[in-house]
């Protein structure tokens, strides 16, 4: 019902042939930004509409879940159209497949995070600000922190810990997974080898998929609990 909304209009126009790496960075930077921003703005703009729906005999949970699925589906569609078609044309199937999958997961993660940030504050400006902060954190700051840690603690064997730390950022998780599939992990040096040992295996792949799903489920679940108790 909400999926009819024309989110696909915002699909990423992507005719890049410059290579997968460029595309990867574009996806990992812009997809989160676009999804988190549009989702937050959409939720705030439809506050009155949600109110109208609440006066009808429907469960709150149902409203929230349908908005989530409506937005997710439209983002997935727009991602598939924008990035999927060029990927399938220009890249080998195995790599483009995994890239599409991760792109979809990343979109869902950020829709879910946007739901959380828009339920946390009533004020639209604050909510959008929070969303942008979260995006900045995941897209840029987190990498900076990790780099900082790496340099500070470079005397210690922290490679294993690095694997653990990546679990705290869905973007990095996705990036590493794709890089490994591109066989450029050699560029990442010794840490890269550790990553390959862990994420390269099917077990590691499975774990990281589970982690990404947690990134989707947990923020949305928290927002759902809060929405059920929220005053509108």
């Amino acid at each position: 019902m909400l999926a009819i909304l024309s989110w696909s209009a915002f699909s990423l126009e992507d005719n890049s042939t410059k290579g997968l790496l460029t595309l990867l960075n574009i996806i990992l930077l812009t997809i989160p930004l676009v999804t988190i921003l549009f989702t937050t703005i959409y939720i705030y703009n439809s506050a009155e509409f949600i109110e109208l729906l609440l006066s009808q005999p429907i469960q709150r949970k149902k409203i929230w879940v349908s908005i989530f699925s409506g937005l997710s589906i439209s983002f997935i569609l727009s991602f598939c159209i924008g990035a999927g078609i060029p990927l399938l044309i220009y890249a080998p199937a195995s790599v483009s497949g995994i890239m599409l999958l991760l792109g979809i997961l990343i979109s869902l993660v950020f829709v879910s995070i946007a739901f959380l940030s828009s339920i946390l504050t009533r004020d639209k400006a604050k909510g959008i600000g929070l969303s942008i902060m979260l995006w900045l954190y995941f897209a840029l700051l987190f990498d900076g922190l990790v780099l900082f840690l790496l340099f500070q603690l470079s005397d210690y064997p922290i490679e294993k810990a690095m694997v653990f730390i990546t679990a705290f950022s869905p973007v990095d998780l996705a990036r590493i997974l794709i890089l490994l599939h591109l066989d450029v992990s050699a560029m990442m040096g010794y840490t890269g080898a550790i990553f390959k040992n862990f994420f390269g295996t099917s077990f590691g792949f499975f774990i990281s998929m589970v982690l990404l799903c947690c990134w989707i489920a947990i923020p949305f679940w928290i927002s759902l609990i809060r929405f059920r108790k929220k005053d509108l």
């Binding site: 019902m1 909304l5 024309s6 439809s46 009155e48 509409f49 109110e51 109208l52 729906l53 609440l54 006066s55 009808q56 005999p57 429907i58 469960q59 709150r60 108790k229 005053d231 509108l232």
Partner: protein
């Protein structure tokens, strides 16, 4: 039909509703009046389950409403400012709400016809004026023949003709034995509509009278004058009433 017991609601430190008790029965048309910010809309939202009160319970048709949603089938709600998805047409809105309600009972399209909304069915919500949006809200509230109608400032923004149509509809539904709750600031509009009057202030119910009682006690014919005389009578004792016009 609606039984409200010891409802209290705080938004952070602000006490919006303070231990409200109220019972409303069918066939009544109750006006909820009071200064801005006295908690009228919050009370209505409590009944609709949009705002969850800190204390107390609300029963609609004998059932407590907490964690329930099906009771809203019996309620038609017309919001103060109706906002709808901007890129949907009026027709789509009606279709959607019908789908949500899945009502098997015959629809009451009386208002829809009288407001001539059929002609506007393919207009987008973003192009509508405030008054037309209000008409849509009103038509939606009455569409499913609910037993309880909650109208938040129904005539605000409507042109005199439409307001008159709406008033007639309200009177007709009242005579059909439905419970109608209206909030309004236009006391003169309410004169021939309502049977009971609730005056709220600072989250409390100041008084709850039937109109006949009110008129008898004050000796006034018009509701507005009757209320004015009550407030004047009170103002020496309570300070807060001095702010009243």
């Amino acid at each position: 039909m609606i039984l409200i017991e010891h409802i209290s609601k705080r938004f952070n430190k602000l006490q919006v509703l303070n231990n409200i008790n109220l019972s409303c029965n069918k066939g009544e048309c109750i006006a909820l009046i009071g200064p801005n910010g006295c908690g009228k809309t919050t009370l209505i939202k409590c009944i609709l389950g949009m705002v969850i009160p800190n204390e107390g319970s609300i029963k609609v048709n004998g059932e407590t409403i907490s964690n329930s949603f099906l009771y809203r089938k019996n309620i038609g709600y017309m919001p103060q400012i109706g906002r709808y998805p901007e890129n949907m047409t009026i027709g789509q809105i009606f279709e959607m709400i019908k789908e949500i309600r899945q009502s098997t009972e015959p629809l009451d399209e009386n208002l829809l016809v009288q407001f001539q909304l059929h002609q506007l069915f393919d207009k987008r919500m973003s192009t509508l004026s405030g008054g037309t949006t209000q008409k849509v809200s009103a038509a939606l509230a009455f569409l499913f023949n609910p037993n309880i109608l909650i109208l938040d400032e129904p005539t605000a923004g409507l042109d005199p003709l439409a307001a008159e149509i709406l008033k007639e509809k309200i009177i007709a539904e009242k005579n059909n034995g439905k419970l109608i709750l209206i909030t309004s600031h236009l006391l003169s509009e309410l004169d021939d509509l309502i049977t009971q009057l609730i005056f709220m202030q600072d989250g409390k119910i100041e008084f709850h009278h039937t109109i006949n009682e009110l008129k008898k006690n004050t000796g006034e014919e018009k509701i507005s004058k009757a209320i004015a005389s009550i407030l004047k009578g009170k103002s020496p004792q309570t300070k807060s009433n001095n702010a009243q016009p």
